[in-house]
Structure formats: structure tokens, C-alpha cells
Amino acid sequence: MKILVCVSNVPDTTTKIKLSGDMHSVDLANVQWIINPWDELALTRALELKEASEGKIEKVTVMLVGAKSAEPTMRKALAIGADDAVRVDAEPLDAYFVAGQIAGAIKDENYDLVFCGIESSDYNGSAMGSMLSEFMNIPSVSSVSKVEMDDDQIVVNREIAGGFEVVVPELPFVAIVQKGITKEPRIPSMRGIMMARKKPLKVVEASGLEALTEFVKYEPPQPKAACKMIDADNVAELVDLLHNEAKII
């Protein structure tokens, strides 16, 4: 069995978002880049499954569509424990473009399980994993909060209002994961970092597919009004403000 983990390269969550002077782009100079948090959890879970599988899972590959500048993030994924990595050499223009590129790059690879995160923390597209499953014409389960291996089957929990459903998909399938699939993301060890340098990182050319959307302009959020303070002994005022001023209850 082989697992693919799709990872996106995103600015660290604590990054202050600066826009370029003409507002046509986000100023990404001096940004600290990280593996998208949910993808990091997915990678961790993939490695846990592999280790517990007694050899049934042979390989965990990470996949990224991005420029060469994203390679440090891929090396980090290798240092965490992925066996190899594939980068499609193209700017990730939109989820449709990314999904089409990945589907093309892996069509002869027969991955049994493909992990994607529920969303990228930068452009909040929430689309790539489901698009990929459609391009590949295979099933998908989204809102996945648990992944287990049971003999040769993969069993997942899908979160629903008030609980979860246990779902057994036919392989191959795409699991779109969120919080819960594992406790903590793994941190690369010293040894992992050394080994990562020698692990294969394959670069493939992009196909001619075109994006369907284009980000043309950005705006900062409206400045927030100062917080209105309410006396701790006058909670009724809070109720009143929420009702009459904010009109929210």
C-alpha cells in the first residue's frame, strides 16, 4: 500500500499580512513558511499508520505544487519522516489548477490513500482535496477526524452534527482531514533532518492546464472599533448591548 500526502506551503499563522502598495498582491517578503497545519497532521497520521502496518504500507510520499522556493517545506516533510517527495514545478494558481496538476502527476502511481487538509490557511480555498478526487474519479470522505487501518481496509470517522459516522471507503480514495486524526504534529529529529537531505525529491513539469479563477485585488479588513468594556457587576448591560446595539441576539 502507498500513501500520498498533499501539502501546501503557507505563511506561518502569526504572520502579519501586508499588502503591496497597489493592493494587487500580498507582500510575502520576510514571511516564515510552514507546512499547512492540517497537512502536517495528515503526514503525522500517515507515518503512524505506516509504522503500525507491519510492512503493509510501504511508502509515504509528499506532494506539492509550487515553485522551487517551497522546497524547504518539502525537506521539512521529509525530515518528519516521509519517504520521498514530488514537486510539480508551477505556481499554485488555484485549487482547480493544483488538483489537475497532481492528478496528472500521479496517474500511473496507484496510491491507495491520498490525504489532503481541509483547507490551506492562506487562501482558504477548502477545495483541492475534493477536486483531486473528482479529477481521479475516486471516492472521497471529507471532515475526517479519525483514520484507522483494519486488515486491508481503511476506516475513517466523518464528523457530523452531534457526532460522527464510521465510513469504509473502497480504495483508492481521498481523505480530507481536520483536527483529531492525531494528537500532535511530529517534529523533525536531528537524525530525520540529516536523512532528509538524501531522500529523493522529484521535480516534474507542469501540464498545460489553466486556472479558472484569478485573484486580482486585496483589501485589508475594516479597522476594528475599540472593545467596549462592561462592568463585571452589570452583566445586564452586555445583554442589552448584544440585543439593541449589535442586534445579534
Binding site: 499563522t13 502569526t14 504572520t15 499580512i17 500580498v26 497545519p37 492540517w38 488555484d94 482547480y96 488538483a99 483547507e119 487562501y123 482558504n124 477548502s126 477545495a127 475534493s130 477536486m131 478526487s133 473528482e134 475516486i138 471516492p139 472521497s140 471529507s142 471532515s143 477526524s145 464528523e159 457530523i160 452534527a161 452531534g162 457526532g163 460522527f164 459516522e165 464510521v166 465510513v167 469504509v168 480514495f173 483536527k179 486556472a211 479558472l212 479563477t213 484569478e214 485573484f215 486580482v216 485585488k217 486585496y218 483589501e219 485589508p220 479588513p221 476594528k224 472599533a225 472593545c227 467596549k228 462592561i230 452583566v235 452586555l238 448584544l242 440585543h243 449589535a246 445579534i248 441576539i249
Partner: protein, 325 residues
């Protein structure tokens, strides 16, 4: 006439506020573009419930029902939606931003080669080019996105348009789609579900506790407050790490991303990783002993005080309000 097709997901045969919002939104786009607003529903929904959608401006409701659709099979659902769009010749397709929409809209996008914008925050700013505003970086910025394909898909952020009434005579029509048995490839083997609970991502009000709550044993008044307000409960990461609350409640960078109308941060310092998950909330109320807690920079209303004392007073005050309103 061109058409706007709105996909209305039902919850055990019923529609919710989020559906009325996307119907209102789709109907407004239809009005502005001289189009017709049609709703598609999949699953077993009574006619009375389907008729409700006319209140928000839909003139036709297509209802697809098939025994194989009891569980959510993404491929099959997406196929019905894509077939409806094609049969009707719709050019604009509207979804909510629920978890189900995340599972379906992208598939419809690939099927129809239709560009999609997730977490849209308002009406299209222009029709030609078709440009939609959306949230990026969890609300730390907004972007205008142009959809270049002939068919366009918009997933609207909850609470970003509101509900507008525009009652129309509605026709309820049975929709027929060709769905092959071979696309049913996932099997639901068990369901564990407490009734009456709200999915955190879909909640309109969330009452959330942090380390300042001091321990699992202090959560009763927080739950009471949530009950009174019909809210979901949530927590900060250390709280779920400590096991005071289940992991499914953890919000933030590594937890869930939520965008309710109203978010109560009780004993939460407001670390940037926590705020990453909640900053799209419309109104934030914070209670904290420390007037310098960063949460007050993001909050709209604040109380400096001990949650152990303030929370019971809040329970009483909101209970009184609810009994009078």
C-alpha cells in the same frame, strides 16, 4: 433566461437559517442579472419544507429523492447537482460554506469546469468580469477573485449576506437524474450522534472556554449558557490537551475554524493561534481577569472579571432575556 441554481442541503429533512441566507443571496444575484433563482434539494424533504424556500425568492424548487442517497456519497451527490446545472443551463451555482459544501462544490467545479470561490463575503462586485469578494488568511485580508469560466460557483460565508424575504409563487418539481450504482463506493457502517447538537462549524453562537476556566469541573455554567442561547460549546487548545473537553471542541490554527455571529471567549488569553480560528466571528465577547489580555484587542465587548463569578451572572441575565423575548 439565465438561471442561478442554489443547492440547499437539508438537515434531517429540514432547512436552516444558512439555507435561507444562500437562497436570499442567489435570488438577489438573479434579480441583478435578470435571471431566475432555482433551488435544488437532495434527499427526503417534505413539500411543506420545500415550499418555505419561496419566501426568500426562489421561483422553482427541484427535489431529488432516491433511497441510495441516505448517506452522503460525495460522487453521487455532486453528480446530481452537476446534472441539474446542465439540464437547467444555469450559469451561477450557489452553495453555503458548510462541511458538506466543501465536499460537493469542488467536485461540481471539476465536472463542469466551473471556477469556484469558497468563503465569499458578499454579492459579485461585477458581472463582467465576474468578480466576487472573499476572505483570505482567515479574515486578516479580503480578496477580489475573478471567475473566468462560463459557469461560476460561489460558496457563501455564513452570516455575510443576511436573510431577505421576497415571497414568490413556487413550483415544486421532482428532479430526475441518472446515477450509476458504481459511484456508491463508501459504506457508512455506524453512526454515533447526539440529537439536538450543532456542528461547531455551522453554529451561529459559540460559547468557548480557556485555561482561565481552571478545570473540567467548572464547565457546567458554560454549558448552561450555551443551552440557553442554543449555542455550541468550544475551547482553546490547552483545554482539550488537558482533557477538560473533547478534541472536537478545540478551535484555532490547529483546530476548527469557526465564524459564528457571536463568540464568547471565557478565560481565553487570545493567542494569535487561537484567534486564527475565530477572528471571522461577527461579534466577540471576552471575559478575562487580565485587562491586558490580547483577546480584548479582537473583542467587541469585554468584561474584566473572574469567570467563576461573571459566568453565573451571565447565565441568569441571558435566561431572563430569553424568557422575556
Amino acid at each position: 433566461m439565465s438561471k442561478v441554481l442554489i443547492y440547499a442541503e437539508n438537515f434531517d429533512g429540514k432547512f436552516k437559517k444558512a439555507n435561507f441566507e444562500i437562497v436570499s443571496y442567489g435570488a438577489e444575484i438573479a434579480r441583478q442579472t435578470g435571471a431566475e433563482a432555482i433551488v435544488l434539494s437532495i434527499g427526503n424533504v417534505p413539500d411543506e419544507e420545500l415550499k418555505q424556500l419561496s419566501v426568500y425568492g426562489a421561483s422553482r424548487v427541484l427535489s431529488f429523492n432516491d433511497g441510495r442517497f441516505d448517506a452522503l456519497e460525495n460522487q453521487a451527490y455532486a453528480s446530481v447537482i452537476a446534472q441539474a446545472v446542465e439540464k437547467e443551463g444555469a450559469e451561477i451555482v450557489v452553495f453555503s460554506n458548510s462541511n458538506t459544501s466543501k465536499a460537493l462544490a469542488p467536485r461540481v467545479s471539476v465536472k463542469l469546469k466551473a471556477g469556484m470561490v469558497f468563503a465569499a463575503t458578499g454579492l459579485p462586485k461585477s458581472i463582467d468580469p465576474f468578480m466576487v469578494p472573499k476572505k483570505v488568511f482567515h479574515g486578516k485580508a479580503f480578496a477580489d477573485v475573478v471567475i473566468k469560466s462560463p459557469i461560476k460557483i460561489i460558496c457563501l460565508s455564513q452570516n455575510s449576506f443576511g436573510i431577505t424575504e421576497d415571497a414568490k409563487a413556487v413550483s415544486i418539481e421532482t428532479f430526475v437524474a441518472e446515477i450509476d450504482d458504481t459511484v456508491f463506493k463508501t459504506r457508512v457502517t455506524n453512526v454515533e450522534k447526539a440529537t439536538g447538537k450543532i456542528l461547531l462549524n455551522d453554529a451561529e453562537i459559540i460559547v468557548s472556554g480557556g485555561r482561565g476556566m481552571k478545570g473540567a469541573e467548572n464547565w457546567k455554567p458554560l454549558e448552561d449558557l450555551a443551552d440557553i442561547l442554543g449555542a455550541a460549546t468550544a475551547c482553546s487548545r490547552p483545554v482539550s490537551d488537558e482533557g477538560w473537553r473533547p478534541h472536537s471542541e478545540h478551535v484555532g490554527q490547529t483546530g476548527k475554524i469557526v465564524a459564528p455571529n457571536l463568540y464568547f471567549a471565557l478565560g481565553i488569553s487570545g493567542a494569535i493561534q487561537h484567534l486564527a480560528g475565530v477572528s471571522s466571528s461577527k461579534v466577540i465577547v471576552a471575559v478575562n481577569t487580565d485587562h491586558e489580555a490580547p483577546v480584548f484587542q479582537e473583542a467587541d465587548y469585554g468584561i474584566i472579571g473572574d469567570v467563576q463569578k461573571v459566568l453565573p451572572q451571565m447565565v441568569e441575565a441571558f435566561r431572563k432575556f430569553k424568557s422575556e423575548n
